[in-house]
Amino acid sequence: MSRKLPKGFEALEPFIAIWSANTAAQRDNLRTTVPAQQRAAFHRVIAPLANQALDQLDEKGLANFDAADENLMQLLLAYAHVGHAEEVQGSDEAKHAATRPRLRFTRAPADRATNADSLP
């Protein structure tokens, strides 16, 4: 059986199902809709691993990613959003979440299925 994440990052496995997404818009939406406790639990595990995970993925190189590396990358991209909820907004996150749908993400380099250009 092939592993879901690179060796050393097994602790993140339970989070793959929830936090993998194709686009920044979806990640933003996950930040908003996943219950606060679950979001905090993910943050507690990924925040201390992020630096090391990036080092390891950099070593490997984007072109050589296997499925496990790709899963780890997706979790890191989710951390880019969740980290702002937990580390920047803190107890204001629920209030902040209400403002976010107004500014729709339409494109990001990390998007796997790129949206059509948004300018009408």
Partner: protein, 396 residues
């Protein structure tokens, strides 16, 4: 502390005295008649940013852009001669909009109605049964709009013979050209619609007075002990355009996710020579409704497009050089985008609250302090143009 850090000194009233100190009339921020005047006096005669050259990289690449304020649909096309042109997306036979797709690549543009077909240089190439017409093909080319590229950004102007934007900008051109946007190959983007006048919306992003109240968490690093409001270190005026230099808080510390985000993009940015700019703390406010922040690892452009007197939309883009080269760059770009987005999200509700208050007609005037002088400058320039247009119309 390094040798360069010195106590913050705010912009003095003398520096901006030429702008006056009068209260600003409220009506131009909601009045539909005033907005009609602005359409002609401001937007039909000013350079407006509609995109970036990385969107039209090859011969035949095109983008379609709507400018509601001028009721215009534009087609920006790279011709087979490599030249970039802007046309009205309007068939010259009987006016049908030519292209529906937002972007693509084509050598010919055929009108769906009667199949008039135009080349990528706008010339009418063929038209069925053309012998029956009473006009020459040469006179049926697509209607062109002036286009200028500065720092990779595509600007258009609907005047017949506009003063070149580069002439208006002078030294600012070199500064803009020194930023990643000038070499960008891709970008992140988010968009919004807002129930607010374009000036009221735009003004929110050219004053820092509100930072500590509206962005207590996301804007923390912008304010500091000797500059509690995060006021700019400098402001400058360049004709209709203006800039401010963002103050750097020497004591600022960022949360881990932001430190990781910015930190992880720096090695690649350094390698690409993107950090060699003097414009890194500059915030460019180009008339009428364009912003660009110069920070090389968060080089964003924000354009406010008017829709009506009390409705606008905004497009914010962070420009990047090259596709993601590593996991670090991919993560960093996402995190840096979220950092900017988190701040911008906090502004919309309060801008709309301001619009509701102003639109009620309760106020004849609004007030602007010395550190809101960029907002005052914008109003002065708009008013001057509207008055000149009215005088022109009245033949005086």
């Amino acid at each position: 502390m390094n040798a360069e850090s010195k106590a913050f000194e705010q912009v003095s009233q003398e520096r901006v005295a030429f702008l006056g100190t009068r209260p600003i009339p409220a009506k131009p921020y909601y009045d539909a008649d005033w907005f009609e005047l602005e359409r002609e006096a401001v937007f039909r005669r000013s350079w407006m940013c509609v995109g970036h050259i990385c969107e039209v990289p090859e011969k035949g690449s095109f983008i379609r852009r709507e400018l509601e304020v001028l009721k215009a649909s534009l087609l920006i096309v790279r011709g087979k001669d490599e030249k970039l042109r802007a046309f009205h997306n309007v068939c010259t036979h009987r006016g049908t909009q030519l292209v529906e797709e937002a972007q693509g690549k084509r050598t010919r543009f055929s009108c769906p109605y009667h199949m008039w077909t135009f080349g990528s240089d706008g010339e009418l190439v063929s038209a069925p049964d053309f012998e029956q017409f009473h006009v020459a093909k040469e006179d049926c080319a697509l209607k062109q709009v002036a286009l200028e590229v500065i720092a990779g950004l595509i600007f258009v102007n609907f005047s017949k013979e506009p003063e070149a934007l580069s002439d208006q900008l002078g030294d600012l051109v070199t500064q803009m050209e020194s930023l990643p946007v000038a070499r960008a190959t891709t970008f992140s983007e988010y968009v919004y619609e807002i129930d607010a006048n374009w000036k009221l919306t735009y003004d929110n992003f050219q004053e820092n007075y509100h930072l500590r109240f509206i962005h207590p968490r996301s804007g923390g690093a912008a304010c500091g002990k000797d500059n509690p409001f995060g006021y700019p270190a400098e402001v400058d005026f360049h004709g209709d355009h203006r800039t401010q230099t963002i103050w750097s808080n020497p004591d600022a510390s960022a949360p881990a996710v932001q430190e990781l985000g910015f930190g992880r993009t720096i090695p690649a940015a350094m390698e690409k020579g993107l950090l060699n700019t003097d414009a890194g703390r500059k915030y460019f406010a180009l008339f009428p409704s364009f912003f660009m922040f110069g920070t090389p690892v968060q080089n964003f452009v924000h354009v406010v497009y008017p829709i009506s007197a009390e409705k606008s939309r905004g497009v914010i883009r962070l420009y990047w050089v090259d596709e993601d080269g590593s996991a670090s760059e991919r993560f960093g770009r996402e995190a840096i985008m979220v950092t900017a987005h988190d701040v911008h999200c906090e502004d919309t509700a309060v801008i709309e609250a301001g619009q509701r208050g102003i639109s009620s007609g309760a106020l004849e005037h609004i007030h602007m302090q010395t550190q809101e002088s960029l907002c005052r400058h914008l109003f002065n320039v708009v008013e001057e143009k509207v008055h000149a247009y009215q005088a022109e119309r009245n033949g005086s």
